[in-house]
């Protein structure tokens, strides 16, 4: 138990015995999570990505085993 962290975690310790949450609560959390995250997923994709994909295609028209020596930028 981390007794010395803020008042918030005192509240948080209520369930530290890890009593399983009811199905209802799990569903509640799950649906909120998907709603919040879903907003991020649904955002329009910026132009730069279609540009990027075009670039990938033209750079390596049919390079099968892309030889590592010729990669555009050295990255670590």
């Amino acid at each position: 138990m981390n007794a010395k962290s803020g008042p918030e975690s005192t509240r948080g310790q209520k369930n530290t015995k890890s009593v399983p949450l009811s199905k209802e609560i799990q569903n509640h959390i799950g649906s909120r999570l998907r709603a919040v995250y879903g907003q991020l997923v649904q955002e329009p994709i910026p132009e730069r990505f279609s540009e990027l994909l075009k670039q990938l295609n033209t750079e390596t028209p049919n390079a099968p085993e892309a030889d590592p020596s010729s990669s555009e930028e050295p990255r670590t």
Partner: protein, 189 residues
Amino acid sequence: MTTTNRDTTLEADIVAAIPHLRAFATSLCGNRERADDLVQETILKAWDNRSSFAVGTNLKAWLFTILRNTYFSERRKRKREVEDAEDKISSRVAVHGEQQGHMDLHDFRQALEQLSEDQREALILVGAEGFSYEEVAEICGCAVGTVKSRVNRARTRLADLLGVGSVSEFGPEPVSDGVISNRRGSDVM
């Protein structure tokens, strides 16, 4: 000869994964532009290494692994350069959806921000992206049991923060225990 075919399929799969990569990257770094840089880098790396990707295995999980590794190795570098101060402030700027949404979701978003990084990540990958515990263990480079306990702790903490883990279900709060033991303590004194 099938290489071109393979590339085409691969590309289509990458395209399909982009919205998910962006969402995950945003939830990792809390900053949209950095998230897009991360996704771009992920795609470039994946493309460069596509010959090492085993067709028929899970491309999305592979991409998520690359993205996550890229994020953490960059952050390590950055930390060394900038020292923690700035990072602490800027890394978790809350990212809100365009729609400010219901109050409900606003609260949820804030609660999510308060989870530890490990817990939030595990919860998102399992609960929102729909990866299996095994896949998440692969992506995060940890044991399956660790993923499970992170997800459980994340849920419990969220329920707590949101005040939905009703007290009556779990018996009296420990506060009353504290009072009792305090009394005992003072009796002894």
